[in-house]
């Protein structure tokens, strides 16, 4: 019987080799250019961080205390403007401004980041327990944050730095509390209040969601509900506020240094550079303007990233 089946009787597609299943056209994912702002922000912060971390090993960055000889071969005051001898010029003690700006970034970024982490840990914890438990816990946390917000931040910072420094001198067990950590703690305390408020507000709305009720009806303890169910949903808000706060704290560190409440003598920071050189801005603008520019661009970059994060997380949040 099989012989009777020939090309004319057999169904056409039985004879012909099965055509390969049409492969779906490769999805042309159009690479969306993410926008100038965000590229710039990430690029700037990335290269600044890189330079700050590896400054010791990069030959084109002199040490911040190295003296750059002037045109006459001897160190002097503000001898070089921006150029090949010193990229950002030299300052009043013949130091290289570029090098001081990069080394300054170390301190400024460290202080900003540690203070933000401090604020996130303390503020986040207070906010979650206030929002979840409500009642008297909420009252107490809100009284603390309201007090912190009601006092002028700068005044509070000056007093805190001063007090903490005195404390560090008197108490021997506080030996680790150098001026840098004093400033970190001060700024961290200032960052706590807004973070606690935002986390509390978010927690208040999240705790009414049904998945929280579901977790409780499964027998989860409050700690588990807060950290396994609510906390993951808070991360976008915390990140967004954290990044925006980071920029404010970096600027605040600059402001404190400008007021003479900076880190240890000899460690350059942007605020100190601005403070030291501002009187000579007429004759040597570079020594003031470049630290200012760095501060400005860093703050701007963190703000752009914070903004971007908030928009990105918002869409999904609204969808669910």
């Amino acid at each position: 019987m099989t012989t009777t089946i020939d090309a004319t009787t057999a169904p056409e597609d039985a004879a012909a080799p099965l055509p390969a299943a049409p492969t779906p056209p490769a999805k042309k994912r159009k690479l969306k250019w993410p926008g100038f702002g965000i590229v710039f922000a990430v690029g700037f912060l990335g290269s600044l961080t890189f330079l700050a971390i590896f400054a010791d090993y990069l030959s084109f960055i002199p040490y911040p205390d190295a003296k750059i000889p002037g045109p006459d071969g001897r160190p002097g005051r503000y001898e070089w403007g921006p150029g090949t001898a010193a990229w950002f010029g030299t300052d009043g003690v013949s130091g290289d401004v570029f090098s001081k700006v990069i080394y300054g970034a170390r301190t400024s970024l460290q202080v900003g980041i540690f203070a933000t982490v401090f604020g996130i840990l303390v503020g986040g914890f207070l906010g979650v327990i206030a929002g979840y438990f409500r009642g008297w816990v909420d009252r107490i946390v809100m009284i603390i944050t309201d007090c912190l917000l009601a006092l002028p931040a700068l005044l509070l910072a000056i007093i805190l730095v001063d007090r903490l420094s005195d404390l560090a001198e008197d108490a021997s067990w506080l030996g680790w509390l150098s001026r840098k950590w004093t400033i970190v703690i001060t700024l961290g305390i200032l960052a706590t209040a807004p973070l606690a408020r935002i986390v509390r507000a978010q927690t208040l709305s999240l705790r009414e969601r049904e998945f929280v009720l579901a977790a409780r009806s499964l027998g989860a303890k409050p700690g588990r509900v807060m950290f396994r169910e609510i906390l993951p949903n808070l991360i976008p808000a915390i990140l967004t506020v954290g990044f925006t706060g980071l920029s404010i704290l970096i600027a605040a560190e600059g402001a404190l240094a400008f007021l003479g409440l900076g880190v240890e003598v000899g460690t350059p920071t942007w605020g100190k550079l601005i403070d030291e050189n501002r009187n000579k801005i007429d004759e040597a603008w570079w020594a003031t303007i470049f630290p200012c520019l760095m501060l400005f661009l860093t703050v701007l970059s963190f703000n752009i990233i914070g903004d971007r994060l908030s928009r990105r997380f918002d869409i999904r949040q609204a969808g669910v």
């Binding site: 049904e210 998945f211 009720l213 579901a214 009806s217 989860a220 669910v320």
Partner: protein, 338 residues
């Protein structure tokens, strides 16, 4: 309607859950007023039975369901589940007791944590109670996920928003089943779903009920949904029970004026049929200041003076059919055997 009384409670050894005089009140700000969400209802559910709880929005159906779970704890009354009085349990004992009864919620998407993987969500109860080894947990979760019709491999890598509403409800059902509860409180589990999906989820619930020997409390405002799934139906109005009856009896022979109105409100899927039924008028009164006497009296077509002063008690009008009305549409059975 809207009466108290316990004539409908059964005295059977099979009673799994027995609620008596359950009252739930919420304070209204600092005004000293309170919302009378549930005002002294009594109910019982036998093992393996499905109790339907119907009523319009705001009548206290969901609050009743949550008060059974003690989330929040009721203002007063007693809830006896598997022989233990839940209202007197301490926090930790109550957490333990909650594993024996589970809840399925109305909004399938909101009831799943949007930031966790679906498989983790279903495994969470086992992790909370540290039941079994890791391998046993995975096996259990996979088998239950398959049973409710969710692909376990997909569940392992997807978040709730990547599933449809019906699928999310299946996931919720899976989560409620992993702890092997005896009672599941379904709080309007299908009202957020498409009609076609509703049927699938209802069938799934029925199948699982038979397979796991579950007892269901099925809360809904859609009478057609309740009719098919329930053995017994309790009709609620403004925090009170109006009528309790076996499902068939209630639908064929409603004794309470409110129940008749509710049944009349079911749309007839035939455009040729003329609309002749009388609709109920007005809005339900505020649960902050409920009307005296029968709570349905301001809207009841048969209301008389006694309805405005005296609250009707539940009484028998048939076998297993109880109504709280001074003038039921069915003649009451005097001295009912129950």
């Amino acid at each position: 309607m809207a009466g108290t009384g316990k004539a409908h409670l059964r005295d059977s050894p099979d009673v799994l859950l027995r609620i008596e005089d359950l009252v739930v009140e919420f304070p209204v700000g600092r005004t000293g007023l309170k919302v009378n969400a549930v005002s002294g209802i009594s109910l019982d559910v036998l093992r393996g039975e499905t109790l339907g709880l119907v009523g319009e929005s705001g009548c206290g159906k969901s609050t009743t369901g949550r008060a059974i779970m003690q989330l929040p704890r009721p203002t007063s009354g007693s809830v006896v589940f598997e022989g233990s009085e839940l209202t007197r349990l301490t926090g930790d004992e109550m957490r333990e007791a909650r594993t024996r009864m589970q809840m399925i919620f109305q909004d399938p998407i909101s009831s799943l944590n949007p930031r966790r993987k679906v498989r983790q969500i279903v495994m969470e109860p086992l992790n909370i109670w540290k039941r079994g080894t890791d391998a046993e947990r995975s096996q259990k979760v996979d088998s239950i996920l398959e049973e409710v019709g969710i692909d376990p491999t997909r569940a392992a890598e997807s978040q709730p928003h990547q599933f449809s509403g019906g699928q999310c409800q299946r996931i919720s059902i899976a989560r409620s089943l992993v702890l092997d509860p005896s009672l599941i409180i379904c709080d309007e589990p299908v009202s957020a779903l498409d009609v076609s999906v509703q049927a699938q989820v209802l069938n799934l619930l029925e199948d699982l009920k038979a397979e796991y020997g579950l007892t269901l409390i099925f809360i809904a405002h859609d009478l057609a949904v309740v009719k098919n799934i329930s053995d017994r139906v309790a009709v609620m109005y403004l925090g009170k029970i109006c009528e309790v009856a076996p499902s068939d009896v209630l639908y064929e022979n409603p004794a309470h004026h409110y129940t008749s109105v509710l049944l009349n409100s079911i749309p007839v899927p035939d455009p040729e049929v003329a609309v002749t039924k009388t609709a109920i008028e007005g809005e339900p009164p505020s649960p902050v200041l409920p009307p005296p006497g029968c709570r349905f009296n301001p809207r009841c077509p048969a209301a008389q003076d006694i309805c405005r002063t005296e609250e009707p008690q539940l009484r028998a009008v048939g076998d297993g059919h109880f109504v709280a009305c001074h003038f039921p549409t069915v003649t009451p059975v005097e001295l009912s055997t129950r």
